[in-house]
């Protein structure tokens, strides 16, 4: 038994878990902003797919033919294109949810389906087949990357992984130490009160939803131009929905979201090693474990008392 655990909990399994957590972090932290202001965006998955495709296209397009290594300008353009696409889709989402006051659970599914269909359509039109790109390289941080275990775990990742984890303290700071964070929380808790205090509920929600959507697009890019360097139909395979669940799991706090993302992805990484090594549990059951764990954790661990009071409730200014 101890041998099995030793074989599964290797440094590389943990490192793989940290990398796998990256797209969840971007998407779930982005979603946290929206939800803290009272908007549930179920369309994350669709935005991720669009971000994954468009950034992949840009990197493919701006990398010189026959290049054998990565091209920094192309990668930068890739991220910028993803951000722009996230911005546009975020504005559309905000328009539907905030201005038109659509039912948020339903409109999100529409955005998801749009992203799923559109990303594939563009891929079919712009590419002849499956291709790969030279994506973000791993950056070995001098000195730190040589520390045993910790170095391999934390300091030999690609740039997008570092940024994802940097977002955690940044988000904490924005939410708790700035006027902007105060406004976001006020709008999510009691939009009427915020409104009477002169905060524009609509503006704040447009801002958070658009920011969240931009981060979701980068989540997609982190898959297609940093982690896997390939684009494929529906390559997010449900990650966007897991990210929404992680926001609940993390009680609408960046740190909680990070632990949730790490737990989920570590279990995924370990589970894959377990089925590779053949420890006698059928693959089907092993594949379920991260999802089962998420559901169980959601049921037992989540403190719903922290839920923004106005979540999913459209705001209509009193007459």
């Amino acid at each position: 038994m101890i041998d099995v655990i030793k074989a599964l909990l290797t440094v590389s399994a943990l490192a793989s878990g940290i990398r796998l957590a990256t797209p969840y972090l971007y998407a779930a932290i982005g979603e946290t902003y929206g939800q803290r202001s009272g908007v549930l965006n179920l369309g994350v998955e669709g935005v991720m797919l669009m971000g994954a495709f468009t950034s992949f296209w840009a990197v493919n397009r701006f990398t010189p033919e026959g290049a054998t290594t990565y091209e920094p300008t192309a990668l930068l353009i890739g991220v910028l294109v993803a951000l722009a696409v996230g911005f546009v889709m975020g504005l559309a989402t905000a328009f539907i949810n905030v201005t038109l006051q659509a039912e948020q659970g339903i409109s999100g599914i529409g955005i998801y389906l749009f992203g799923l269909g559109m990303s594939d359509l563009l891929f079919q039109r712009l590419f002849q087949g499956v291709e790969t790109v030279n994506g973000f390289p791993k950056i070995y941080i001098p000195g730190l990357s040589d520390i045993p275990v910790v170095g391999e775990l934390l300091f030999r990742q690609n740039l997008l992984v570092y940024i994802a984890f940097a977002l955690v303290p940044i988000t904490w700071f924005v939410m708790n130490k700035t006027t902007l964070g105060l406004k976001i929380r006020a709008v999510g808790q009691n939009p009427e009160a915020a409104d009477t205090m002169g905060i524009s509920v609509v503006k704040v929600r447009y801002f958070t939803v658009t920011l969240g959507s931009m981060l979701a697009a980068v989540a997609g890019a982190s898959l297609s131009i940093a982690e896997h360097n390939v684009y494929f139909y529906n390559m997010t395979a449900g990650m966007g929905f897991i990210a929404v669940a992680l926001v609940y799991f993390g009680s609408w706090r960046a740190r909680g979201v990070m632990f949730g993302a790490l737990l989920f992805s570590l279990v995924t990484a370990i589970q894959l090693r377990a089925s590779t090594l053949g420890i006698g549990i059928p693959d089907e059951y092993l594949r379920m474990t991260p999802y089962l764990l998420t559901i169980i954790a959601l049921v037992f661990a989540s403190q719903r008392i922290d839920q923004p009071a106005a979540l999913t409730k459209p705001f209509e200014r009193g007459e």
């Binding site: 290797t10 006051q101 659509a102 599914i109 955005i111 389906l113 896997h228 139909y233 990484a269 590779t276």
Partner: protein, 348 residues
């Protein structure tokens, strides 16, 4: 205002779903019309592309005016595929191909309703002859054959004696490929360990990549895998400098520096006789198999990869042995593969 939101969403959804299900109509002249319904896309470098490429090859031979191809992609959901199959049959296509094992039960319902239309279903050996249906052809790939050859090569090429195989779900030609490859490795190099992981998905590229990573961590220096989700794994192999064997379509373009060879399916071997039957008005619902012997399976060596001559020679020797029956494969009722060597003096 709320209602408008709903309308916007409804229109978005409808705009996405509807175009998928409308096959195009045509008239004028009498070309042979074939329609194919597939679970992924025509350029997936795997299963769906293999049938599309075969149809295009036939079209090139016969001329575009004589041979018309229509297809519906990404119909992984069986109900959607069934709708498309029925529509194509109703439109009067000469041959309607259900390219996916999961479409079987739908086809069993649809085929009797269109007795004058010929259907083909793969990959399977079941033509519903026992159910009294005579207009369904079946086709399958004996992918264990090429897999065995590639496994033998992998057994010679590995330095770490650890080889990883990624599969989707343990069934059909994916299982045949995985089992054949493992058997090939064991045949050539009994000391090598083969790590097998069925990731329970045909489409999750990220999961396939993570599975590949786990195998590389275990010391694997050669990987292979089957189904549409493998590009993620190929990329991990490339990063780690491990070798890759492809199947279903030629995957050398994904990573020219590490792909040793690919087993390529040539479905024309099954499609040509089916089309000839239909043209002769003799639809009989036969079952076809792609093998190394009939040229339906080909091992395509990657020209950009410098393969050791001894390995190449050994691969050709094994291929010959399979073609002339010195090595054959038997699959029992539970789908388990066994390798049978003829009682000649062939060395092991």
């Amino acid at each position: 205002m709320k209602k408008l939101g709903f309308v916007v969403v409804a229109v978005l959804v409808a705009a996405l779903v509807l175009p998928v299900l409308t096959p195009s109509a045509q008239a004028e002249g009498e070309p042979f019309r074939v329609a194919v319904v597939m679970p992924s896309t025509v350029n997936d470098l795997a299963f769906s592309q293999s049938i599309y490429d075969a149809l295009v090859a036939i079209q090139e031979e016969r001329g575009e005016e004589n041979f018309q191809i229509d297809y519906s992609e990404n119909l992984f959901v069986v109900e959607d595929a069934a709708t498309a199959l029925r529509d194509y049959a109703a439109e009067g296509y000469d041959l309607v191909i259900a390219h996916g094992s999961q479409y079987g039960s739908s086809l069993e319902e649809i085929a009797p309703e269109f007795p004058d239309t010929a259907f083909a279903w793969g990959t399977t050996v079941n033509t519903f002859q026992d159910e009294g249906i005579t207009n369904v052809y079946a086709y399958e790939a004996r992918s264990e054959q090429g897999a065995f050859v590639q496994g033998v090569m992998a057994g010679m090429l590995t330095k770490s004696n650890v080889i990883g195989v990624i599969g989707p779900i343990e069934t059909g030609d994916a299982k045949l490929y995985v089992d054949g490859f493992s058997a090939g490795v064991a045949y050539q190099n009994p000391d090598a360990e083969v790590l097998v992981n069925y990731i329970q998905s045909f489409s999750d590229v990220a999961l396939a990549a993570a599975a590949a990573e786990a195998m590389l961590d275990e010391g694997a220096d050669i990987l292979t895998g089957t189904a549409q989700m493998v590009p993620g794994a190929v990329n991990k192999a490339k990063e780690a400098g491990a070798l890759w064997f492809g199947t279903q379509a030629d995957q050398a373009s994904l990573a020219p520096e590490i792909v040793v060879a690919s087993q390529v399916y040539d479905w024309t071997v099954a499609l040509n006789p089916i089309i000839e039957d239909i043209e002769a008005g003799e639809i009989n619902g036969e079952a076809f198999s792609l093998t190394l012997e009939n040229g339906g399976l080909n091992i395509v060596f990657n020209e950009d990869f410098e393969l050791d001559e001894a390995v190449m020679a050994r691969a050709e020797e094994i291929m010959d042995a399979i073609v002339n029956g010195d090595i054959s494969f038997e699959i029992d009722d539970e789908g388990n593969l066994s390798v049978i060597e003829a009682e000649t003096e062939s060395e092991g």
